[in-house]
């Protein structure tokens, strides 16, 4: 039995989702016989962590503050082992600009993109480069905040006239945004598990079929709004390629313990759109569903991730 802290809530837009993830994980840990303390992100979180001095922290936070290395760096400072990726890997995966640059350099397929910063818009008139950047990428394209999950602030742009509104919207969520080529094809996600002492593996490729056409915030967290095919119904060779690509992305970004790589399969190429170092554990989340389909119960999944955090001889997280 270990004394554990489950960190959930936080200040991001995905607070609600994090509360659900945290509740489910905490219940599983209790059923496994551990002593569980639930903590939110507050002014005295550090103090509480020092008082509790847990054997490990199970990080169930999503989005800014929880998934971007902030909490991870603090936990390292406090000497508390924690689940999931390290600070550098976290910020790299959270920020799509960083993630895509790293993947691009490593030869992992990710759609062409351009980055814009709010600061450059204001101080350097960078808006003048929007049109040319969009032309270079080609329409349709997608405008999205660099550091926001769950599809919030994301707009598909079909023609130049709609570009400015989309940019304006995306900047509502982050001071950094991306213009990215729109890829059409089968939407897939690859939940990855890396048990202690083993190589990371894709649990199952999950095909995402949102009923309303787009896999947005609502489709993600409304039961019944999205259908999943597990495993994805794609040709065997494409599946192999997709799994290899997902694992390449996971390694390139330096992830640890578990993660989820989101892709779109277009003409045989699995384009990587996004990497999540702390994917959801809700009833509608793909990680626990894929684990279940692979014969791993929710408790086993949680225990495996905890074991990876607790192993002392593991190399330092990135």
């Amino acid at each position: 039995m270990a004394r554990l802290v489950v960190l959930r809530g936080g200040h991001s837009m995905e607070r609600d989702v994090s509360m659900v993830t945290g509740r489910r994980v905490a219940h599983a840990l209790e059923r496994l016989g551990h002593e569980v303390h639930n903590l939110d992100i507050e002014e005295n979180t550090t103090e509480k962590l020092m008082e509790l001095d847990p054997d490990a922290a199970f990080v169930c936070l999503h989005g800014i503050g929880g998934e971007d290395g902030t909490v991870q760096a603090l936990l390292e400072t406090l000497g508390i082992p924690y689940t999931g990726s390290g600070p550098l890997s976290s910020i790299r995966s959270m920020d799509k600009d960083y993630a895509k640059r790293a993947m691009f350099a490593a030869g992992v397929p990710t759609p062409p993109f351009r980055t814009f910063l709010r600061k450059a818009m204001h101080e350097m008139g960078a808006a003048a480069a929007l049109g040319p950047a969009a032309d270079a990428i080609g329409y349709p394209l997608v405008v999205k905040p660099a550091r926001q999950g769950s599809g919030l602030g994301l707009t598909k742009v079909e023609e130049p006239g709609a570009l400015l509104e989309a940019v304006y919207e995306a900047f509502g969520y982050d001071g950094k945004i991306l213009l990215e080529r729109w890829v059409t094809g089968t939407e897939m996600t690859a939940p990855i598990l890396e048990p202690a002492g083993s190589e990371p593996r894709v649990l199952n490729l999950v095909e995402v079929r949102p009923r309303g056409g787009s896999y947005d915030f609502e489709a993600k967290y409304t039961p019944g709004a999205t259908d999943f095919a597990i495993p994805a119904e794609i040709p065997a060779d494409a599946a192999v390629r997709a799994e290899e690509t997902a694992l390449a992305a996971y390694r390139t970004l330096g992830c640890s313990d578990f993660g989820r790589i989101d892709m779109v399969l277009e003409g045989g190429t699995p384009w990587v759109l996004d990497a999540n170092t702390i994917p959801g554990f809700t009833e509608t989340s793909t990680l626990p569903l894929a684990a279940e389909a692979a014969g791993i119960s929710f408790e086993d999944l949680v225990e495996t991730i905890l074991d990876a955090a607790l192993q002392t001889e593991a190399p330092a997280k990135l």
């Binding site: 008139g125 400015l164 304006y168 969520y173 947005d216 915030f217 569903l289």
Partner: protein, 437 residues
Amino acid sequence: MPLVDLDRFDFLYANRVKGMKSAATRDLMATLSRPGIISLAGGFPDTRAFGEEAFREISHHVATDSAQALQYGPTGGLEVIKDIIVDVMAAEGTRASQEDIFITTGAQQGLDLVGKVFLDEGDAVLCEGPTYAGALNAFAAYRPRILHVPMDRAGMIPLAAHEALKKARKQGIHVKFIYTVPNFQNPTGVTLAAERRRELLEIAREYDLIILEDNPYGMLRFDGEALPTIASLEQESSGYPDRVVYLGTFSKIFAPGVRLGWVHAQPGILHKINIGKQGADLCSSNLAQMLIYSYFRHADWHAYVKRLTAIYKERRDAMLDALAEFMPNEVHWTHPEGGFFVWATLPSYVDATSMLPLAISRNVAYVPGEGFYASGSGKNCMRLNFSFVEPQKMRRGIELLSEVIRERMELRSDLERGSHLGAQHASRSAAVGNPER
């Protein structure tokens, strides 16, 4: 396991719930519970003002008749509570008699029951634009068309209401009732002018419609003279309640926790509402009714309302002062004489919905305007609540909000400046390939 169906009863759900969705902004509202955030998004009365002692006292009275408090009651409510309501309505200048009063579980249930009684799918409701979002939700189950009538500083514009009805008639759309919140409307804080109340009544007579007068805030007036309710104007002219269905509530003058409201209407309509309520919840809580009875009979409720009004007035003033101090010139807002809300209008290009995440990240929240329209208008508007936030915090909240708005306005001008250059750039490139050169 080829296909995972997460909601396997999807094929069984009624059509009416398929259209109902939880907006992403609603989900964002969950972040408001976190510490440090100044929420101007609520619509709560300040129940902290009531006090433990007063609560203990009224509970003590109720305990002496615990058997009745714990029992089912009549569908239309206890007789004793109706006497209280007669007094409350009289305090607002509306004559009422017991037999025209029907108790509901909050005025919200009144909205649902009126919808249930009058609306078939495709029927229309005429209401203010913007209107109370909870009314839109209540009506939505009956799948009506919502016809918004524009407002100005004096409330719904009668001429526009008239035009809308004429147009609906021409199109064969059956309008069943006019829904209005005449005093310190939710969300705008605007009050319907006395003359317009008469005009609206005339229009309803001309088109033979019901008027649904929803008056939760009427008693919370800070300045100016109270205006006659539409219900009282009708009785003045015809001597009895006829086409005005009046909704009252204890939520703002006592507490929303008791979930008690009422419908005042003519017996024919109440009969239908009674049938509707039997199916909904049989009766409202006896316990809640007796708590209210105990308080309104034994305590000075007028003094309590006066105390609440003073608290809210101070907060309204704090909000208006802060708005004047911090907001950019391009932002406009209403000046309510009572109630809970101020409605702010931003430059047309500022989308209050997409601005909300930024505001929340800066620790201030509001309700974006589009939820108060069935049509998706009001994107550049927001509802600001002043009843639940202390003056000092309010000032800070408005200051933060102003910074966020300024930032969005500044980004817009940066983008437009840039896109102008971008357009020049594009035309220059095009000119290179021009055969005339």
